[in-house]
Subunit: 365 residues, 4 copies
């Protein structure tokens, strides 16, 4: 008879009162490997219980934006000030703060802890891999470089922007099988992706489309190149194909819809493309990551799919749903398709948890 | 001293109870040149007054979808059966019926009357020009061919699909100045464009995007080629550049938003493109067409524009609003922009009225 | 050692292609007592498989409106014509057709089968109880009268209108404990309640409220009285307190919100009212009905609740969520509250399944 | 021959960058009597031009929420700090700041200027009348009392809460003709009424109803009583009938919809009520106030009206649209109806301008 004693990794969530932080808490509820033991947010929330911190001071309204209820286990935890938070004894920090704060706080935590971040602050630094499980495991080796250079025991690993997520997941198998020469993409993004202060106003988006999201298109282009790059001589060499994005906001609660046109390296039929999408990620099942979707990519034959309301929550919000795969007459070896990706599940907090799971398996945490 | 006596052209609106027909009536209210004297619809409405015909039989609910109130002058007009409608004495028939009905009815009317149609039934026939004022005046000469071949005194001139409208208006000046080699376009279309029976259900589109509109993408590609084609040897020779469209439905009442990427024949900066957009249509002012916009294209510098809710009604719903003009890194000599076009004003009924005005000026009516 | 052999009740769903029928199929998926063996709809669908019948003939679009996917077990079932359907061998017919059809079809089925109906056709007949589990079990005895009078082996039991459902569930404990003297109610109803042909158009409800739903207010008043009536001398004697309803449609997918003001027979504080709400239905747990909610009424202390999007799906869509319980200064012994009830779960199809479960337990099926 | 020289009243708008302030600027564009010469807002905007002040500092997005474009005449005006603003030479200050700020700033301005306020700060003070043109002209006399008591040359006159506006306009003629004994009201309010920082989030209201607006119900009850009160012995004696309000937020851009049930002092038929609504305000036409609606109340016979999207802008957003007038079976001499009132036109900024027009005519400005 064998007894296995194990201890869950101790987790702190910073930026716990914002929507990404909330999604993080939901993703970590009843997690088999990780346990939330510390919460932090801005000074304004510090000293309150979590239950109190997610109430509007003036009106008492609960400021909680997940469909799932707040995990009972965190309601009574005290919220600490993220600035100056002592993370000794903490294995993983999930950082869901805005970028300016991330630049200051995340290096403090990374001295000793693994920092998984939804912020963009460190995404573009040479020794910081933007990790997407199933897509660029090889980049994890950059963590060693990062630790060495910065003298940290921990590390910072950011997720990509939520709009990049579904795109790179679908481009990866195309890259591997056919090569990718260029990408044109138009997104119709859900309002929950706009972050926290204050998010998209109803007055702006009801009966409307907003054709611009500051900085988004540049992020998508740059991050796609980096994530799909190769490691050469200990550095990530970004893929150089151009990505031309138009990012718009739609009157959708959650889920980013993207119309993608790709020029492939070699000719492929829609059926070929559907086949590589369906196969993608099959080898990841053996890792048995708790937050992983059953299928990395879900292919729809029905031309009316994917739709964000119907498909965002498929497979726990962790699959990328694809449909309308067809030939494109403009680009060389062109194919086009529409994808839906859940921007606050796979595209942010729950994706960060999945990444942490992978890095734990790979020995980095 | 000279007295000018003139008589308004006598107009019948067929399909008067549907949304396109309603918009047609609104566009013709107090029109200086045209007067609505006859209304027709399906058998179900025949014999009622217009006021009664736009009430739901069962619930009494008024089925009227324009922001403007129904013109008082038509409320008491009788609605006749479009099938078998005698159009003698009628100068112009605005046909706003669905395509199957149009195929049967429009030739009946065209024997003696000018038929301006929002239906697709005849758009693709050789001797039928798809007219867009300001874009392809030269195609009007096909009306003579059509009359000769078919033995009609009148004619059929269809408008393009509402999604094609804003696209060809913006492509035309690019074609003329720089040449166009290919187009990639993603649309986010308002629900009023879905026609009448039953139109888009709230249950389908609230908190959602629908990634497919049957037949729409093919129409956009084909009509764009035809409208931007040249007349050679008495026939329209379609432009041959490929148009790759992805047409989606958004939770927007009216106004089609399109993210357009164009490969130009010669290199042009965003400023060059903005300049040709701003100049376009300037020479049309001299025609003094009553329904014409002040500016054919309205260029926005603000990157958050155009937005359908804010810009669809600009210039009476007749201008095409353009913004976010920028370089595209994928296509050769690539530029991209976002446009908003009012799908039931310029893109349908009021565009048909404007076309009729042009054809009247040009002596065809 | 005891082996229990049992056979599931054999079920037919009529009106299976409409939204109520679809919800019915979802509610019956993996049901421990009932098994769907037959499907019927209008002539148009007859002869197709269910998978084919829920596709739009023209566009191929799937016409399925539940968040849950269609149960795999019914996709290949043939759809029969509801008119003339032979229900021999069927224990229960769930009838989700419109009222005109119900008037003709339901008596055909009731000759041999138990007919649970979401249609209003028979709701107001003397020998037909409108059953709401937990509210008026005593009315079930009317089934015997009905059988005797009409010479049926089966019976017809309709559910109330979806707007009545949450109202009577909350009024019942108030009636029992304090008495009810009058009710003023304003509803803000979700679009899924509008039924099928064609349902609420996006063009009508986006950015809007529609202040009238034909017939709804009368149904609410009449059904509330009947359901809360008492059986006297073998007949249901309707409660006579007046119910003044204003029923409106809101831009909400599912879930009816109702602002209710009640004049009680004796004075009660909001805390008293909350207490009787919380206790209500406690005794039903012992019945162990598979579709029953854990709590018949869920009371919220947070004044921002209940909200249809957050609360409609609570407890499988079967609980009535109540909040904002406070004194009303206008009515005698006045209290007021806001409720949210899921109009297509408890308020229609799944409520019908729950009713069938109760009637099976009570020996009527 | 007589020449009339006149000078427009000089106006300052404080809180000019918020939605109420913006609506105020729109209401004052091309005003025949008033001219905007000064703008003020919070310290953050001070020193910028108005055009710059309505841009988001970070993203450059224009923060302008009226359908009408910003008046060209104010774009280059400097924005001053409302705190410490010197209003010498200013005749009228339109104050559209939040209540906390109003409490401090408005008395500063009132020393010399007429202050028309959309804030609630002074609404409940004895010597401050809440003015609604056409409803309580007699209360204007309180301005004299206020000046005397406070030693001001100017004065503060607040408007009611936007939700109170349509209610009191419809209750006034009922009070005068039949008497009012009690009111039960449920509102479904547009998002633009939520003010500015940050207003209603899309994430909260899409596909939803929010059943609570902090403080709103108390305001409606208290203000209704005060506005419909009588002046006795130089003081306003509030009407004492109870007003039981349930205030909810709907997914509507602008326009408040209210379902109103009234107990009248004497019995009246719906036709009687419609008649007094139609007559109301007829005597105000002689005042020729520039912002006044043609009809104070617009009565609809169509039971599907009023709807906020269709009726909010009627008569320049200044009429109260009423429909569904019918008997109520619960209250004594009960009648009920539905109204729509434009919350940022008549219900706020443009109503403030109308009030200033009246007070100018009455000699107070």
């Amino acid at each position: 008879m064998i007894f296995v004693f194990y201890m869950k990794k101790r987790v702190a969530v910073v930026g716990a009162t914002g929507i990404a932080g909330q999604q993080c808490l939901v993703a970590l509820e009843h997690h088999p490997w990780f346990e939330v033991v510390r919460l932090a947010a801005s000074e304004r929330s510090a000293g309150k219980t979590y239950a109190a911190a997610i109430r509007d001071v003036k009106t008492g309204e609960r400021r909680w934006w997940c469909l799932e209820e707040p995990p009972a286990s965190v309601l009574d935890l005290p919220v600490e000030n993220g600035d100056g938070l002592d993370v000794s004894g903490i294995d993983i920090v999930f950082s869901a703060v805005e970028s300016d704060a991330a630049r200051v706080l995340e290096p403090q935590y990374a001295k000793t802890a693994a920092v998984l971040s939804t912020a963009s602050a460190f995404r573009y630094e040479d020794d910081v891999p933007i990790m997407v499980p199933g897509v660029n495991h090889g980049h994890a080796a950059q963590i060693d470089t990062q630790r060495r250079r910065r003298g940290w025991q921990g590390f910072i690993v950011p997720l990509p922007n939520c709009t990049t997520m579904g795109l790179v997941i679908t481009l990866k198998p195309l890259c591997d099988r056919f090569g990718v020469k260029s990408v044109v993409m138009t997104s119709m993004q859900g309002v929950s992706g706009a972050g926290r202060s204050p998010g998209v106003l109803a007055l702006d988006i009801l009966d409307n489309v907003i054709p611009y999201i500051p900085g988004e298109e540049e992020k998508v282009a740059r991050e796609t190149g980096k994530i799909l790059g190769v490691v050469r001589d200990g550095a990530i060499e970004a893929a150089t194909f151009p990505v031309s994005a138009t990012c718009t906001r739609a009157a959708v609660l959650e889920g980013h819809t993207e119309a993608v046109t790709v020029s492939l390296g070699t000719r492929a039929t829609p059926a070929d493309v559907a086949a590589v999408f369906r196969e993608f990620g099959g080898d990841l099942a053996q890792l048995a990551l708790p937050s992983a979707p059953e299928r990395w990519i879900t292919v729809h034959d029905d031309p009316f799919r994917p739709q964000p309301r119907l498909d965002r929550d498929a497979d726990g919000g962790m699959t990328t749903s694809v449909g309308r795969i067809r030939e494109d007459p403009v680009l060389e070896n062109g194919v086009k398709y529409v994808l839906v990706s859940h921007n606050t599940k796979m595209g942010a907090a729950k994706g960060a948890v999945l990444t942490a799971e992978y890095l734990a398996t790979a020995g980095y945490i």
